[in-house]
């Protein structure tokens, strides 16, 4: 019978010793199941109803405080099986109580003394305080000694028959140390038991709430602390997230937080693998009341559909984004002007197509002939003076060479035949003709020509071949024309080259003032034709004119009398020819 009666009591004590749940009968916050609350409720009722019939034979109450998230529940054992009516009082002391006024203490003491006579029917643990008029089974309280001077009797826990007391409202000072005294009052006497308790250092932390979500190679853990008071008291909370899977070592993340809710990503995990995660919190002095239950998840499987959609959305969005950027860049380049589409010319440039000479049209025939004449003059000079084949093919010519020729003319001016030379310079024809050696025999000329052919560079044959070979370039032929275009020999040359005018367009209509005309109007084919019919006299003249140019200007400038003589000799030759 006694074992049967003590069964519920022991079951109740076991429930508290394991700290499964705080007593929800006091209206405290509880996160435990209803089964525990029902179990405790029944056990408390049973223990309280039978405790009044028990005999108090034990002096060891073994009080214990379950402090979880600053909610304190004091429990104790009721001793052996007795049928003696037993009541309990909870009294506590702390140094902070001494600051309270004495009047308050007196009132509390009166309340406590008055409650001694009250009868408590402790069947309902939610109403532990006796109501006035209720019959009391508690024995009378003996006189307390002086050590109660700084005590405080918990009103809700005086003369109770239940073996627990909620002290959450009493322990407001978290940083002090409380001395808690539990009195067991029976007819045989009073039994006391004392414990120390510090809310700050003796409290344990509740299990944090956490959720896990998987990602391909990681697990996202969202943690919420069990109470916001933890951060207010301890300022920062340390936590440990442990990720474990079969066959691999556990992964831990030890860190501290100052936020009530936070999330941590545990990376470097294997995909499609079952991981179990536990989250524990602690402080320097406090640990978690009980280890948290693990939550398991398979990485990379839960959000697979979301990931597939991500694989589509991300590239498409990136493509659209990149194309938009390209379009914007092109628009900017177009606006700046770096990209020119087919558009009309600006108004300011509309006159360009109205030019008489379009840069894209071919040069008119007559204009081109004039330019060719100037070029050929320069080419002849270059060919004769420097012997440079590169300059020979150059249309533009160099001013240096022209200047050089001009100096040559000046030197000629200093001579006795000033008038003649000026006439030559004004005619802008080749001055080299004037400095050629006069009166040289044909055999000598041919000999010189042979020697030139042997020694001269690649350009010289071009110059000389214009006299001997019929397959030379038209410019060379043109230069030959210019060589004979001297004012002084104007008619003589046209007569001397008897066959040439026959091939030229207007050979018979030339006069001395328009010696250039045949060259200007002539085509390349004409020159090739004329080259074939050149006479040896003309050829000898070219060879003689080439010699001073090839040998050097110094030589020609030193013999001014020779030049004059040469000119005179030409004159005589002309007379001979005309005759």
């Amino acid at each position: 019978m006694m074992a049967l009666l003590m069964g519920p009591l022991n079951f109740y004590n076991l429930g508290f010793s394991e700290e499964i749940s705080p007593p929800i009968s006091f209206g405290n916050k509880s996160h435990d199941t209803g089964f525990c609350s029902i179990r405790m409720y029944i056990s408390v009722i049973a223990s309280a109803s039978y405790s009044s019939f028990e005999k108090n034979t034990s002096s060891s109450l073994q009080p214990h405080i379950n402090a979880k998230d600053f909610e304190y529940v004091l429990t104790w054992k009721t001793g052996n099986n007795t049928r003696m009516p037993t009541c309990f009082n909870v009294i506590y002391y702390s140094s902070s109580l001494e600051t309270k006024s004495n009047s308050e203490k007196k009132d509390e003491g009166q309340d406590a003394s008055s409650s001694k006579s009250r009868f408590q029917q402790s069947e309902d643990p939610n109403h532990p305080v006796l109501q006035p008029g209720e019959p009391s089974v508690c024995p009378s309280m003996p006189e307390r000694s002086d050590w109660f001077k700084n005590h405080r009797i918990v009103p809700e826990c005086s003369n109770i028959t239940r073996p627990f007391c909620n002290l959450t409202k009493e322990f407001t000072d978290l940083w002090t140390t409380y001395l808690i005294l539990v009195e067991q009052v029976t007819k045989n006497g009073v039994t006391r038991s004392l414990i120390e308790f510090s809310p700050y250092s003796n409290s344990c932390l509740g299990q944090p709430q956490f959720n896990v979500s998987s990602c391909p190679n990681c697990v996202n853990v969202s943690v919420k602390l069990s109470s916001p008071l933890l951060l207010k008291v301890y300022r920062d909370i340390s936590y440990t997230i442990k990720v474990s899977t079969a066959g691999f070592p556990d992964k831990r993340d030890d860190n501290t937080t100052k936020q009530e809710s936070f999330s941590v990503v545990m990376g470097n995990l294997l995909p499609n693998r079952n991981y179990c995660i536990t989250v524990d919190v602690f402080t320097n002095l406090n640990t978690q009341c009980s280890p948290s239950s693990p939550k398991c998840i398979i990485t990379g499987s839960k959000n697979k559909s979301i990931k597939q959609s991500d694989h589509i959305i991300i590239p498409v969005s990136l493509g659209i984004f990149v194309s938009l950027i390209v379009i914007v860049i092109l628009l900017v380049l177009y606006k700046i002007g770096l990209i020119c589409l087919r558009t009309d010319w600006p108004n300011i440039l509309d006159f360009i197509p109205k030019f008489a000479y379009s840069t894209f049209d071919s040069v008119p025939e007559e204009v081109h002939s004039v330019k060719v004449t100037e070029k050929t003059k320069k080419k002849v000079w270059r060919c004769d003076d420097n012997g440079d084949g590169d300059d020979y093919s150059d249309d533009s010519g160099s001013d240096v060479e022209n200047n050089h020729l001009y100096t040559v003319r000046k030197q000629l001016k200093n001579g006795s035949t000033v008038d003649i030379v000026e006439q030559l310079s004004l005619d802008s024809s080749s001055p080299e003709n004037d400095v050629s050696e006069p009166g040289v025999a044909e055999a000598d000329i041919l000999q010189n020509e042979i020697s030139k052919d042997e020694s001269i560079t690649t350009r010289q044959p071009l110059c000389d071949s214009s006299k001997g070979n019929a397959t030379n370039e038209p410019e060379l032929e043109l230069s030959s024309c210019l060589n004979v275009n001297l004012n002084s020999v104007k008619l003589g040359i046209s007569i001397n080259t008897q066959d040439v005018p026959a091939s030229l367009d207007p050979p018979d209509h030339e006069d001395s003032a328009n010696v250039k005309e045949p060259c200007i109007t002539s085509d390349s084919t004409h020159f090739t034709d004329t080259s074939n019919v050149q006479t040896p006299n003309v050829h000898s003249l070219f060879s003689t004119w080439q010699n001073p140019g090839a040998s050097g200007e110094s030589e020609s400038s030193d013999s001014e009398t020779d030049y004059v003589g040469d000119y005179i000799k030409r004159e005589s030759n002309q007379e001979n020819i005309t005759t």
């Binding site: 002391y93 140094s95 902070s96 001494e98 600051t99 000694s145 002086d146 050590w147 700084n150 940083w175 002090t176 140390t177 001395l179 005294l181 006391r192 004392l194 414990i195 120390e196 510090s198 700050y200 250092s201 301890y234 300022r235 920062d236 320097n284 002095l285």
Partner: protein, 187 residues
Amino acid sequence: MTPKLQAAAGLLGLMLLLPAHITALGCNSLKLEQQRLNSESLKMLKEAGTKFPEECLENMTSFNLPAKTLKAHHPEFATKAIHEILQGFFSILSSDLVKSDWEYTTKTRFLNMVHAQSTHQRCLRKDVTLGWSKEEWKTKLKLKKYFKRIWVFLKENGQSSCAWDILRLELQMGFIYTDILTQRMDI
């Protein structure tokens, strides 16, 4: 020499070396060392008195550890307050005013820990300004008065059986305060 004595002697030697080890460390580990000291001290004090004797309740004396100390939110202020508390406890425990229930090795270990931490806090003197603010002076004076009350109590009742238990409760409260202040060190 029994193995137990040898172990105690070895432990004592290690404890004597602890101050030098901690002094060699920089201020970076000051907070960590302080947290360790707080937890170790509270653990040792809890083990020292398994049960507070009921008869000592009559002689309970409140020394009123100034709660204003906890208003030291500034790291420098908190560190100075911790230093004052540790110095006060060390001077009391190193004296012969109280007859403790601790064994000699336990008491020596405790004193070494407190002394080492106090020495370690000297590394802050380079960084922390030497001046004391008005608020800090007030707190320092209150702490001085607090320890003076303990000294007076121990001089009168130091050799009683309850003196050590009453002092032990004050030490617990003091290390709880120290732990709260340690959170604000932020070094």
